[in-house]
Structures are given as C-alpha cells and as structure tokens.
Amino acid sequence: MEDKKRNEAYNKYVSAKIPKTRPWPSLFNSFWVGGLICLIGQGINDIYLLIFPNISQQTGWSLTLITLIFIASFLTGIGVYDQIGKFAGGGSIVPITGFSNSITSPSIEFKSEGIIYGICVKMFTIAGPVIVFGVASSMVVGLIYWIISLF
C-alpha cells in the first residue's frame, strides 16, 4: 500500500521533471511538409486529368494515391523517408505516404529473416491495425446504411 503511494508520487514527480519542448517549431514543420505533400498530390492529380481527360475524379484520385504510395515506398527503400519523418513528424505520418512508409519499412527491416517469415509476415506489424480498423468501421457504416435502407 505504501509502495503504491510512493510509486504514484514518483510518477508524478517524473512527469513534472520531463523537459518541455516548445511545440511550435515541430507543429510548423509538420504543417508545411504535410501541406507540401498534399500539394504534390494535387499536382499529380491535375496532370493525370490533363493526360487522360476521360477518367472520372474518383479514378484520378486512385491513380494519384497509387503514385504517392510508389514514391513514398521508394523513398523508404533508399532511406530518405525516415529522415523526412524525423523532421516533419505528423507531416509525413498522416498523408497516405506515411501509410506506405509504415508497410515498406518493416518489410525491408525484416528481410533478413527471409521472404516468407520476414517480409510477408512482418509487413503489417504497423499498418495492420489501420486496415483492420478501417475495414471493420466501414462494415459498421455499411450495416447502418443497410438497416436504414430497409425502412
């Protein structure tokens, strides 16, 4: 009982002792890097729409995202994306490129354990929850719409 009290007091003391970093520089960096990635995405999208004027907006977005995923995956492979991430934080995690990075990075990292048990098994160690939550929640949304459509 006394231990618990001491631990609580100690944890409180430690969290007060942790150096406070100024949030503005990192917020600013993630703002402009994130904005820039979106700008590049818009640019790619506009170019696709210019080259293939007959495709729908939805197809355009799909092509854009696939291109961005390709670029991010490549940058991860040559070891550049983690340096962008160190600088930009949320700015390079939140865009779809961060999703791509989170799939490619464990694949490369665990290559040394072989193709099956390394690359394939570890591929979703970080991005797995994203797909699980995304698909599961989309099913919930679909279910709700289906129930509504019954009436």
Partner: protein, 122 residues
Amino acid sequence: MEIFLTYLWVFLVGGLVCALGELLIITTNITSARILVTFVLIGVFLEAVGLFDYISDFAKAGINVPIVGFGASLAKGAIGAVKTHGFLGIFTGGLTATAGGIAAAIGFAFLFALIFHSHTKK
C-alpha cells in the same frame, strides 16, 4: 488565379490536418500506428455523416491525400455497395473502393523490400 486559390486551399487544409496529427503526437506521445488508425476513423466518420464531400469540394488533395481520405473511401465504398448490392455490399464495399491503394502499398513494399536493405539512422 482560380488554380492558385485551389492550391492554397489544398496546402492549408492538408497542412492543418497534418499539424493536428503532430499535435496529437506531442500531447499524448502516441505511436504512428495509432495516429494512422485515429485519422482513418475520422475519415470514416466524416464520410458516414456526409461531411467529407463538402470538405473535398474545396480542399481536394488537402483532405484526400491524408489518410483521412482513405477512411472516407472505405466508408463511401461500403455505402455505395449497399445501395447497389444490398446486404453483400457491407462486406465487399470498403475493400473494393480501396483495393488500388492497398494493393499498391503491398506490391511496392514487397518489391522494394526485395531490392533495398535497411539503413542505420544517423
């Protein structure tokens, strides 16, 4: 002039969404996997209540490139498939709509994992 305004909106909204993610990291120290999950769920929610298209109309890539757009596509796919296929759409909709992105991520990750080695951080 109009294109400039479009790109300004893209930059501002995209940057703001990313800065929101950074704010979450700073204040709660959560890992990048949780950030991605949070924003996918936000996207699903925005689409489900019908807000996403309003934002997408003026923010374009600013909201579609962040993983929020991925979540929105999942929800949009599910809703659309329920409308056309009924009950089956609950299961097929989400992944059908995002198949391109997921397949690209898996395919390119596999390809580059075969080519490249991991680098030590500086």
